[in-house]
Symmetry: C2
Subunit: 229 residues, 2 copies
DNA sequence: GCGCGCTGATCTGCATGCAAAATGCAGCGT
DNA sequence: ACGCTGCATTTTGCATGCAGATCAGCGCGC
């Protein structure tokens, strides 16, 4: 199910995304023991890329080393999604504050470009459009963090935002949600361009709290049909 | 200079700490190109642990992949230390808020134990005492984050707090600073025990801002005698 | 004289081999 | 019947080998 769509990816990335995906979709259950050999067999790769992927997943908290030679899938609390949104709120509100002070014209132009692309895909006509929206959204947020000109934040983001995909949000946005999200993005750009850090931070906070609320509402109703890609 | 003190460490950790140390002390200069072969020669290890260390250092932002086969030491902005303290403030204030709600009796007992050990070493009589203080301090903060019961936060912390050691702060604390820091710690424990999230967060904020101010003051005066160990 | 393509050297990504450490199971002793 | 010790197996950590990609310097053409 995840084999053919991204054609160009080196073995380590394949291993990383493959294992992570298997954890998120539940193919690898919480607490299950992992061995490099089995994973390398399952994914058709050698142990080296598997090792590197496992190392990263341990750093990110998806996998835990118990003692010596025992490695297990981590156990996730039920408030995982809420946690991710809270942490993103901390990091991204701060980032956008800095971005409002430090963003260059190029940064702002890039944001506008991404925003335009997202508008063109709203409402999304097919699955591919959803895919593009999700990726553009990530790119948008990543661009803001990059505009904050802090290598530390960027490094944190590659951990935290990747994690945020735990809940592949965009595929469950209603059109109303999507439009609101787009409006937030537009307002964020305006606030950055106006060099108004507090304005930008407030919008970002609303943006992420809205996202969190949507996920929370969804988790309350449905609990079964996840794991769609 | 970093070879004999920690006797038990596997090759990957050795590589990680070795390279990171060489970057922090300036032995590897900003922008310098790195090759696995040279590093493995320098550190007397094979390429495999070097590769894994490089991978982690890239995630943490110490090293950058330029294009294809070119890997360089990252370039650090001058406000690096300030950045680290700001990010820690975001993450740790939030952590201690959660800790104030979720900490167990064991967590609080552990904090008290660490605190007592730090008091016993204050004022520090020798270099070893400084070392112990630094480590106990890290352990204290890590314990608080762990008490927040959020794997995400913990994962973030292993990136962000490790980074914070960029500035090996404790060796430049005056006795007054040390006492204030200890008082903060004591107050943090009390606030957590009293289940007072906002109180705890405020103290943590003060604690880290005080630390940041100290570093800032130091960077303003001295700029030469760093790189001690 | 200067730019461009080409070739050799270098470097990374990945696979595999090997030794040491850990696991777990069976047989022994109590 | 139960716990413990010892051994076979498994698993990781690290080293090394190899192929493809990249880089750097040279010669050729303009």
């Amino acid at each position: 199910m995840q084999n053919s769509s991204p054609p160009k990816m080196n073995a380590t990335e394949q291993a990383y995304h493959g294992i992570r995906n298997d954890i998120l979709t539940g193919r690898l259950k919480e607490g299950e023991r992992l061995t490099e050999t089995r994973l390398s067999d399952d994914l058709g790769l050698s142990r080296t890329p598997i090792r590197e992927a496992i190392g990263r997943l341990i750093l990110e908290g998806f996998i835990e080393r118990q003692s010596g030679y025992t490695t297990r899938v981590a156990h996730f609390p039920e408030d995982e999604a809420e946690q991710v949104y809270e942490i993103r709120r901390l990091v991204e509100c701060y980032s956008v504050q800095r971005a409002a002070r430090l963003a260059t014209e190029e940064d702002i132009a890039a944001l506008r470009r991404i925003h335009a692309a997202m508008q063109a895909d709203t409402p999304p006509r097919d699955q591919a459009a959803y895919q593009r929206l999700t990726e553009a959204n990530e790119e948008f947020h990543r661009t803001i963090v990059a505009a904050a000109r802090s290598p530390r934040l960027t490094a944190l983001m590659t951990t935290a935002l990747d994690v945020s995909m735990v809940v592949r949000t965009y595929s469950m946005f209603s059109e109303k949600d999507l439009r609101r999200s787009l409006n937030h993005h537009a307002e964020l750009i305006d606030a950055i361009e106006a060099r108004a850090p507090d304005w930008a931070a407030s919008v970002m906070s609303a943006h992420l709290l809205a996202g969190a609320a949507r996920v929370a509402a969804r988790l309350k109703t449905a609990g079964s049909d996840d794991g769609q890609d």
